[in-house]
Symmetry: D2
């Protein structure tokens, strides 16, 4: 939503680690964020051999993959089957594709988190006619058993949990640098895959019909490429589609803020005083949930319109300084940096919980806490006590990184919406007639956004009303949509 | 929000009543809508003489006005003073204008509801340097005592409660057709004033710097003029500013649905089954309030995105037919026509309440109830029982017109936001350098929208946070806004 | 709920007005409380003749009644018919009584508010076999047209709106002092009828089988009689039944606080800061509603248990002094006196609204505002501005009397529960075998409380589950209830 | 709350396992319930030696304890210190006891869950002057590191996680069967300790001043003993105190239902259809939370009063059969048995989640699912898929045992209330003058209940209002409470 002007510089400032192959650019920030998922429930195998040094074959004899342990395939398959039950939209797409194959001939290279839900997406793309090769967009997030199941099912997957930075780029390279196979579509999450191809195989873009990018960071990079006139294929920004925005931000955060706090601290919400910094979609979701659970919520804002919304929704709008001494919890959701400073941290009361639901790890000035007079004590996974000389301790969650990614799980249903949007964007770009899309960044057409939504309604046993001819004429609308002007705010 | 393609035809179809002066076009629909306000609390004078036939002077000897009874001025003044206390933003504008007069030289002709809040606006425009002449945009909505107070204070006001159609146009004409005075700004609500000048005094537009229009209907007319190439001055659409939208629709309807239902029916909300047709801003407001009061709410929608929002917000999404037999209340908020048909009405259970919060009076097919076999019984003001041959009765509110306009009052605070937006739009258009605005319809610049919001924050004792230089740079924002891209959804 | 120890003294202190007949005791406080009802929507006849001086007959020739105007009967009948539709429980009792008449032989004298709902109760008692004579328990609350409809239907009703104190006792006397008719049951609301019989016709108690009393005040008087050993018949306290308590207090106040504030002030709730004094059932209802509408609510309490509930429900618990300068609204619900003192009133900010939802008119020290330096301005019915020398004004509603009685209406459904409870209490006392009830005050048996609830479930189309034999045995319960121990808190 | 008439028989029916020492009565049900706690976050040591066979000494040389590993003491101490920060009431009691020691001379034998919170209680009792010996009331629930820390601090604790049934009774015996030490107070949770003393050392009761019992089951046993005339010392039922009831049931379940469902299923609540069986305090808490998170909630009830509350709170009241085919989640909170039968389970839709928040493990007929045609698949800890022949699977949580005990954690704050209540009950019984308490079961005096509440208010920075003398007189109350009659419902 927000333009991060100096992000690029920041990437450059990060200390570069040297891997086996030297790279002009280190691994992106998002690819090293910690990430919790069902993986945390499974025992990681104790085998310390690098997958790159193993010889593995799937039951059909193929060895065109690199995963932790192909033998975990069966367990992974079960996880995938469970996910399928909550991803009805993709399953519906598969069903519709039994006749025509809208992705016949598509050669998709993908770089995303590798989870059961991604597996359902990947196998759906396969069912729609595409060939896929896949790497992970994060070195921690791969579910090894799911990767195994995909490999067993014939998908060339190159990913495991706990890759080194060098492994990370090696895996990506194995996806694109293949004899006799060249991708014509890119599905990216964070922009690392796109970046790699730009750097190493710029000629590949001649055959590529388009890029579908999901993340804020990746979209930002694409807009920068576009501004610089360097974007050489059409790109679809699926991050800003309405459905995804509302689900990933408002609805998902409404639930994950509670989950993240409970799993880390077992705290009781009732009666707790909380300050939420920022009242965008994420802040709105956090505030609504905490108020509903009986917390007393204060809000800080810089934007007077969002501020007025907070007032009307029943939250006192304050400056952080006004309440910092009294609150039990501080939550940042601004997309900004240094919203919680060392000065704030110094003034918090004993046992105050501090966490971040917003952007990356910039919002809380965690670095300022790494000073000799303060003692850090890791009390649980993702939970640190930072202790002042006088004994005061604050409870810092996930070291200031995203609480919901680190300490709660994302419901499959949310991922289903994202995955469906990605699939439709791929179909749209792949099948678009010459000239519909230029070398620019596009939003998903509203009609497809509406289509994604409609595919998810059966989950709720929801019944949509249809316009009569007379009504459609009265409203000047097509009966099949789109139903709203582009500027509609929902 | 929605394009009403055939609205113009509809206007033409309405049977024209012939007044003293024959008009090419009858009074607009909105100008005859019933309207409840503080007026309903005051005794209307029994004097039956038409104001047009009376000779009245204010205490300074002026007779350049036409109101019901100039002697009610003192009572009206008190109402205006009460309103001033809840319109802090306009009072702030007055204070800031003590030095410079941003509207010095402006000659504004206005056509709006004439209420205490409008009076505060008008007197603010005066304090900012403008000369004003004013008529009513609705034949029922004028508060006579407020009109009297304005006339006493030297404002040429031409309006009273219960004008005839001929009176309506006569009043408008008295505002513009003046010796030695010609307007250079138009403030309109519904488009009738603009229409009149187009018809009768097209040459006036040469001196007019711009039109500020508030209503859906008036904005629609302006866009049509613009499309037809007939708009000859810049126009500002203040209807679609974020602040106004959220307040007039979401927040205001959240409160007025309860108020309207209580004042008309004294019903208890707890446990009632309600179906709300449409989940736009108005529907969202109605649903939130009724759910909070313990009603069980069902939603109907045609748009899958809004439908999905309804699901996530905890409402069962149904077709009207599925629940029509069981619900206690039916509320329409679609902007559509014939959403509730005679067939639906036939199937409702005894005592079902039917009302409209959406667009004009089209949503419920009230005409279909005017058949011989059904008996109408007026049980209270704005409340009819329609009785079926078998004794079943449904409770129809405001004959299907807007419940919140007819049966509840609009909080001054909401009107303050609208009035401030109007004042700022007038200032912007009046002071804009040549060329900034062409002969087109414009939205209020986001920065001014943010300014309106910021002027209303002190009401809530709300304290906005300011960006540090470092943060502003990080976000790539100006510290004074605007803070969001244009497509931001709030 | 709370014992008001010095209430009796207070009655004695009130200056006695001398009526036509001198009385040893003045009219009770509750009988002169202002009271708003549907009556406020009807034009009161201009006829100034006292009903006591009129000769009126109903269409059957009877003149055993005294109402304002027997000709209003038809209009009153329609109001009664509308009320019948929302009092399904009484209608169900009528239906069941088509065979047996559980009140055959009962001669009931009643003294309650005379409204459409009471009329449904009275006619139900008639249908169950009882003879009734009725007076009003409040000099303002009688709906003249309803009284007329009852008189027309043969019920000896003695009541009109705007009785003098002398009229009040005269009406009561006309109910009990009749040739050839002596009551054997009393239905009282406030205790004035009971008091009158004690004073004037103590011998009547020989034939009286019991008293059913509804109000806090009346119940308090009965317990005092009982303690003093002067209660000579069994009495049923229907005020403290669960169903009545929760509906009259929690649920009804949840809705009426919003209604009362809107009708008097047209204020917007969103973002307003409110302090609610007292977190009993009434306070809980007020807080829940205001929070749901987006107000920021503070609570004061003296009881640490209720205080802890307020905390857990998400309200900041404060002393009134801490927030009195900042709040927009002060609401009292304590049952206590002088909760809001002149000192508090002096410190409130301009435009602060002050109102009482609690007990009688003691909570706000209104008397302290009647000093020369303060100006009172009546701005609307039930709304006064009290103006300080510096121009600050506070908005006092209903002069500190009960807001919901004075400025909102009580939903029929709530009254239905009370009326059904009264009817069942009468049946129980009338039919109880000798010895079941002594000369004491009783609560309604829990099973009858459950029965009242069950009679109201069909309104919500609610389907109760029945215990299987096995389950009933497991729980040690009778399948038909009672289902809870007496101390259960609901 | 509910009398379980045949519970005793059920205990007898349970298959007796034979331990090293044969017992006349097997371990109680509650003592084998699974139990999740912070323990699940700590690695259990791999040492398989039974603690009974180990020789351990604490740093002061004592070996009067039996725990898993005394070396974990330091880690346990940190957990205790963290808990102390959220148990302000007990810490306040310690502070007040610096002068007088209200438990000086008390010899308390305890049998409870052994967690950090219990440790804070135990060490508080020590600070108040008591000597304590302690065993666990559940074979799974002991936190080994906490037990170690207590032993290190000189408390004779006999407990470890994963005791056998024989271990269980052995530990209890080691607490009471000591040379030269005889308990004079009992603190029990479930009644097993009390039962053991009755069976083995009945003479001990001569010196015992009283029993404090916390659990429903234990209280039930005490009432049975009392009825049978076998209770030979006073007993305090702390289970039914208001504060504990509201916290353990309403407020705690409001939070733990969400936590339990998230941790086991990662489901999204928004838009889900849920049926909650039972609308007591637990049901009310579950319903409120799920509604707040956007679920659509149906309720079943047998009691018409609770049913009417559900209606007024906005839930459709249905029979389970009406909605069983459509719901996504079934939650039982009835205290009843076989509320969800095999027939219901057969009709549920695919992926329906079934869980129990009510009583023990009786509510869902889990036994009926253990038939050959159904396949059970354990997909996660506490999560089973039960698969029908046609592929339909339902998701059964915690095998039908209590979801919140098994799959979520209990906030320390709730435990603080319980622990404080226990401490005060011990003080009251220990210091009560001869004759205040007989050989019967007592509720905690309301004044002490209020005291517990007041000790917890500082957590919320809550400020209680004090009655003025005049107000106390007016209300007939003591300024220090108790503030409500015994029947008050809160």
């Amino acid at each position: 939503m927000i333009q991060f002007a100096d992000q690029k510089q920041e990437f450059n400032k990060r200390p570069t680690k040297i891997g086996r192959r030297s790279l002009s650019r280190s691994i992106s920030q998002s690819s090293t964020d910690s990430y919790s998922s069902a993986a945390s429930y499974t025992d990681s195998s104790d085998d310390e051999t690098s997958p790159r040094d193993k010889q593995q074959k799937n039951s059909k004899g193929s060895s065109d993959f690199c995963v932790k342990n192909i033998k975990q395939a069966e367990f992974g398959r079960r996880e995938i089957e469970i996910a399928e039950q909550e991803m009805p939209a993709l399953m519906a797409l598969r069903k519709r594709a039994q006749g025509e194959k809208p992705l016949a001939g598509a050669k998709i290279v993908g770089c995303t988190h590798i989870t059961a839900q991604t597996a359902v997406l990947m196998e759906t793309l396969g069912a729609l006619g595409a060939q896929c090769r896949w790497a992970a967009c994060n070195i921690y997030s791969t579910l090894n058993e799911v990767a195994a199941a995909l490999a067993e099912n014939g998908f060339p997957v190159f990913a495991w949990k706990g890759e080194s930075e060098d492994d990370f780029w090696w895996c990506i390279d194995r996806c694109v640098n293949v004899e006799g196979w060249q991708p014509n579509m890119i599905l990216d999450d964070g922009g690392d895959l796109t970046h790699w191809i730009y750097k190493k195989y710029p000629n590949m873009f001649k055959k590529i019909k388009g890029i579908v990018e999901e993340s804020v960071t990746g979209v930002h990079r694409l807009y920068q490429l576009s501004k610089a006139g360097k974007l050489c294929v059409p790109a679809m920004n699926v991050n800003d589609s309405v459905t995804k925005q509302k689900f990933d931000n408002l609805y998902c955060c409404r639930e994950s803020i509670l989950d993240g706090l409970k799993r880390t601290t077992d705290m009781m919400f009732g009666g707790k005083q909380v300050v939420v910094c920022g009242y965008g979609e994420v802040g709105k979701g956090c505030c609504a949930a905490l108020k509903a659970m009986g917390s007393i919520v204060y809000v800080t804002e810089i934007d007077p319109i969002c501020a007025l919304q907070a007032c009307m929704d029943g939250f006192r709008l304050v400056k952080l300084n006004e309440v910092i001494r009294q609150v039990d919890i501080v939550i940042t959701c601004t997309g900004n940096k240094n919203v919680v400073t060392r000065e704030h941290l110094d003034r918090m009361k004993n046992s105050c919980i501090v966490c971040n639901m917003g952007h990356s790890n910039t919002e809380i000035d965690v670095a300022s806490l790494r000073t000799p007079e303060l003692t850090w004590e890791r009390v649980r996974s993702q939970v640190d006590h930072v202790i002042w000389p006088d004994g005061k301790r604050i409870v810092l969650l996930a070291e200031g990184r995203l609480l919901n990614l680190s300490c709660s799980t994302v419901p499959t249903f949310v991922l289903s919406i994202t995955a469906t949007t990605q699939a439709l964007a791929l179909i749209e770009l792949y099948n678009a007639p010459e000239g519909r899309y230029k070398q620019d960044v596009y939003l998903l057409p509203k009609k497809m956004d509406e289509y994604v939504a409609s595919l998810h309604l059966p989950t709720f046993d929801a019944h949509l009303t249809e316009l009569t001819d007379e009504q459609a004429k009265y409203l000047g609308l097509n009966k099949n949509g789109p139903f709203k002007p582009n500027y509609y705010r929902y």
